[in-house]
Symmetry: C2
Subunit: 271 residues, 2 copies
């Protein structure tokens, strides 16, 4: 799915929710067991329960890598189960010198067929360029992250501007709104207004709503653009809404609730 198709899905559903599949074997409901097959069953259950109320899924690779090669297979099986109507994100935060980044791009865009992958900016242009070379794929670069550690370097001032603004401004020149998005943490929602001055048209992937305390209203207030331009990710708040046999119903309840909020927020705008 391309960003243009994502915009279409968002407008048709009045929904900009991404569900994050940060699935850990020790956190899924005990009745499912603790095998690789249990993880697949859990992910499929979550997808079944949420697909009518979200437009995207994000697979956090760390949780699968920790299982070794089996985890890598589970990524593939989960990705295949996600309907084509949904935008898929490999949340992998890769980045290396050019010839190595080419291998990471191949991993997520060819070996797997993700629509997009998250990438870290520290190593600069040649670490990001190999991802951008793929047609109809999206590179999602870390701008401002939702964690406490964001204050260590991302807010450091360079010529009076925070590093994260420098990153967003410079990286924006390497791609277009159609092949480039940015990660911007919801826990710093007012900073979205500053970011929007520099990248009015790009999509922003927003983690940090839910378990990390960010507010959907604030994110919408500061971050919305004329094509929506926002994908709000919820992981733990959805997938671990219940630890019991009702985990699917509990997850559905959470996404319905956020979905209704999103519908209201979008209806109050021109979308």
């Amino acid at each position: 799915m391309t960003p243009a198709q994502l915009v279409h899905a968002i407008k048709a559903n009045r929904n900009f929710l991404c569900v994050g599949l940060d699935t850990a074997i020790n956190l899924i409901p005990p009745h499912l067991g603790a095998t690789p097959q249990a993880i697949i069953e859990f992910n499929k259950g979550i997808i079944d329960a949420t697909k009518e109320h979200c437009v995207s899924y994000k697979i956090n690779t760390a949780f699968y890598e920790a299982m070794g090669a089996k985890g890598w297979d589970i990524i593939g099986e989960t990705l295949e189960y996600i309907p084509d109507t949904h935008f898929t994100i490999a949340d992998a935060k890769r980045g290396d010198i050019g010839n190595t980044s080419s291998q990471y791009a191949k991993t997520f865009f060819e070996t797997f067929n993700f629509d997009s992958v998250t990438v870290a900016p520290y190593m600069g242009e040649d670490s990001i360029r190999p991802f951008l070379e793929y047609e109809n794929k999206v590179t999602i670069v870390l701008g401002l992250t939702s964690n406490k550690g964001a204050f260590d370097f991302q807010y450091q001032l360079i010529d009076g501007e925070p590093l994260y603004i420098k990153v967003i401004k410079k990286v924006a020149k390497w791609g277009t709104k159609d092949n480039l998005m940015f990660v911007v943490g919801a826990t710093k929602a007012p900073d979205l207004a500053i970011i929007r001055q520099h990248v009015p048209d790009h999509f922003l992937l927003i983690p940090g709503v839910g378990a990390q305390g960010g507010s959907l209203e604030e994110v919408t207030q500061y971050g919305l653009n004329k094509e929506c331009g926002l994908l709000v990710n919820l992981s733990r708040a959805v997938i671990y809404a219940s630890n019991g046999e009702d985990y699917k119903e509990a997850a559905e309840k959470v996404v319905i609730q956020y979905g209704q909020q999103m519908k209201t927020l979008l209806t109050n705008t021109l979308l």
Copy 2:
């Protein structure tokens, strides 16, 4: 293997060479074939041919991930084949919010039993802390990288100091010389002198000698400390020294040549 044991190995062998296993299926000698088994055979051949002339191996995860789950198995099989006498590095450049970084740390320190892993600093302390919590394991944080893109952000000035110096100074406070190293590209060898003012005791992992043009003499001149404190990585220059049936002999010839240079350089110092 711990950094203390690495120092012992370096002094005993008068050698601080790391061989990088950036093994791509389309770059290995054609006579080996193009199967996962061929990659394993190639890696084992390279290890056999080089182990007497190096003290460390670095597995670049990108090249294996591009093969999917099979590649993940090859990482495991290659790692098991590396002798216990050698320091092992997962060159993975991971980094995410705390609970996700914990999963990456688990991946490389438990699921695999690497001695160390490379980590990106952009997301700050809580993205690095979960790696540092492992006893007898080493976290290798990107400081100054060897690629052209290093100039995009790493050299940007914050309070008159480049970002990479800020990163190295701040990260150094989160760990010790026993659980923390830094990546410093050889292509910027004179900057090693500045880095040594801030982290005189830490080990530095030095990519960029060989294919990327860095000089071993310069690296040693500016970077050596009283325990050596350097691990110089060579990847393509060694493993792709020949594309023929003599690939092992060709690789051995290159590591012997660098090994002799290292012996001379270390003998000229107090080590």
